[in-house]
């Protein structure tokens, strides 16, 4: 493997581990705040105990997960320094805001949450708990705005003298991609935490401990989680529409679709054919079960719409809403124009060296005209511009199938919990809820794999491919730190799980019912 591959694996490893902690923080903080709100409203000690129990688990997850995201920023500066410079303040500004907001909100309100029970009024404490939950989501907002910009770079102009993109419209960062991505990620955290709360509470029921507490917790977990899951699906639908507009190649890879059509179906389950490429006649799938009209509806909210496949996009073929075949900029042309942009940048460099202002202005104008295809100039063949279809296709299906299962689980649990006798007798359902907990993380991580693998080969869509974003670092160093991170993060995960299990066990032996 090359240094680019190792650096990508390292980034993926740290991001995946980081995301093990984040969604639980996002969701559990909201559930704790809801439980405390009920306590403040009713004065019930049972709700106070429930709040404190889940708050302790939140604290464990928060403490172990905090600062794990910093490693990603270290990697930007070392492994991806070309990228870091190229994106300039557009990427740096949201991350800086995130750092400041996270530091102040978390150090202040988390402390009040844990230490302030007998120091501040009930209402002030409740406000601190809600602000912790809101602060966590605001932190996520800035990270996701930065990520969305990489997928849909807007609000900037490239300055060849500074060799970086300069922000000219801050508000453009809040694009449709960013908004959908933010709500999709945050609500998926609610859905994840809901399954966590239901799973742990089901263990209480299986063990016949603190049954009232468990039922109470399941109600909050299931209602909040269901709301989160429905919103995740709604914003996922919005994301699909945005991806269709701005990253059609990613959508085609998600579907393993090479030749699109109007009334395009979606593959519910299937196996992609590894021998298929954009320019051969192999079948797309070894086996598939298709839902008619599905992809047209998902991508354009119109069952009759045309959805282009990988080959269509490469050849620059699309069909508009009137049914007319239109030509877009095909990939061969994009590569040619990307190389012209590179040539213009070289000319700018030469003119700059001899202080030729006229030459610099001319080169800058040529660069500006072809800059939207700058990244394609790194490719010699269109094959290099196609994302890994298999990983994207399967990750998408893992996310959707597991997400649908969890929606069903929420509905069954909610119906059951209000028929309490049935629910308490249904050990099978409690076991399913318990065993489902780790699969919720699989679902959540699969979502990120769709987003990040599907956008390859780009770090910044159309402008900077992954292989150009890398620094001059040695493969040995990256391999060393890769295994170092694998060890550290695995230890952190083991610590998290073991401390949590110990705390759940300990909590289950106390009286949490009244």
């Amino acid at each position: 493997m090359t240094v680019v591959d190792w650096s990508r694996w390292q980034f993926a490893l740290t991001a995946i581990y980081h995301w093990l902690f984040v969604p639980l923080t996002l969701g559990l903080s909201v559930m704790v705040a809801i439980m405390e709100s009920i306590y403040v409203r009713t004065g019930s000690q049972a709700w106070l105990k429930a709040t404190k129990f889940w708050m302790t688990l939140f604290g464990i997850n928060f403490a172990i997960g905090v600062a794990t995201g910093l490693i990603l920023e270290f990697e930007f500066g070392t492994n991806w320094s070309n990228y870091s410079w190229f994106v300039g303040d557009i990427f740096g500004a949201p991350l800086a805001i995130e750092g400041i907001v996270a530091f102040f909100m978390e150090s202040t309100f988390v402390a009040v949450m844990f230490f302030g029970w007998h120091r501040v009024s009930r209402r002030f404490h409740l406000a601190a708990t809600w602000l912790t939950a809101i602060g966590a989501s605001i932190s996520a907002l800035w990270i996701l705005v930065a990520n969305a910009w990489m997928q849909y770079p807007v609000g900037m102009e490239f300055d060849p003298a500074q060799m970086r993109n300069v922000m000219d419209n801050f508000w453009a960062l809040f694009s449709g991609i960013a908004v959908n991505k933010f709500f999709h990620a945050v609500f998926s955290g609610w859905a994840l935490a809901g399954i966590f709360v239901i799973g742990v509470s089901s263990w209480f029921l299986i063990k016949n401990r603190n049954r009232e507490f468990a039922i109470r917790s399941i109600k909050v977990g299931a209602w909040t989680g269901l709301a989160g899951m429905l919103m995740t699906m709604y914003t996922g639908d919005g994301s699909a529409v945005e991806v269709t507009k701005h990253q059609p190649m990613k959508l085609a890879a998600m579907e393993g679709l090479y030749k699109g059509s109007t009334q395009q179906g979606i593959v519910a389950m299937g196996l992609v054919n590894p021998a298929k490429s954009w320019n051969n006649d192999e079948d797309e799938y070894l086996f598939d079960i298709e839902l008619p009209y599905g992809l047209s509806i998902l991508a354009k909210h119109d069952p009759n719409a045309f959805v282009p496949g990988i080959t269509d996009i490469i050849e620059g073929v699309d069909i508009n809403a009137n049914g007319d075949t239109i030509n877009t900029v095909g990939y061969a042309e994009r590569i040619a124009r990307g190389k012209m942009a590179h040539e213009a940048l070289r000319d700018f460099d030469k003119a700059k060296a001899v202080h030729d202002d006229e030459g610099m202005a001319d080169a800058k104008a040529r660069l500006k005209a072809d800059y939207p295809y700058f990244g394609y100039g790194y490719f010699d063949s269109v094959d290099e511009a196609i994302p890994p279809v298999g990983v994207t296709f399967y990750s998408f299906r893992v996310m959707v199938i597991l997400g649908s299962f969890f929606l069903l689980l929420y509905i069954v649990v909610l119906v059951g919990i209000y028929r309490r006798q049935w629910f308490e007798k249904s050990k099978w359902l409690q076991w399913i809820a318990l065993v489902s907990v780790p699969f919720m993380w699989v679902c959540s991580e699969a979502g990120w794999m769709v987003a990040e693998v599907g956008r390859q080969p780009w770090t910044v869509q159309d402008l900077l491919p992954t292989r150009a974003a890398i620094s001059a670092v040695s493969t040995t160093t990256v391999i060393t730190t890769f295994w170092m991170f694998a060890g550290i993060f695995t230890l952190l995960l083991v610590a998290e799980v073991s401390i949590m299990i110990r705390q759940i066990e300990k909590g289950s032996k106390k009286d949490l019912n009244s």
């Binding site: 600062a67 500066g77 230490f115 060799m163 292989r467 150009a468 620094s471 060393t480 550290i488 401390i499």
Partner: protein
């Protein structure tokens, strides 16, 4: 010397009282916040383990990993932004 010059503060008596009152409030708030953190840390149970993990983690991240393995290469290797821009231009026009 006039009597005005004998005043150590240029503020009026009312403003001076307000300032003293505000300073006292800030002081009370700071003491209260300090004791909340102090007592909170002292009475922690599972939190002590967590804080140990946080401190070890931060030491590893910032002292070992950041200093030894993750320098900001552009800051380390170049003195000015112009040099950094020139370097990145060369890198992007002649990628590995």
């Amino acid at each position: 010397m006039t009597s005005k010059n004998n005043h150590s503060s240029p503020l009026s008596p009312v403003a001076e009282t307000r300032r003293t009152g505000a300073a006292a409030s800030i002081g009370r708030f700071a003491r209260s916040a300090w004791s909340m953190y102090y007592d909170g840390f002292r009475s922690m149970t599972v939190g002590k383990t967590l804080w140990a993990i946080i401190l070890v983690k931060l030491f590893l991240f910032f002292v070992v990993i950041k200093l030894l393995f993750f320098p900001d290469v552009l800051k380390r290797d170049f003195d000015t932004d112009e040099q950094r821009a020139d370097h990145v231009r060369q890198e992007l026009l002649d990628p590995r």
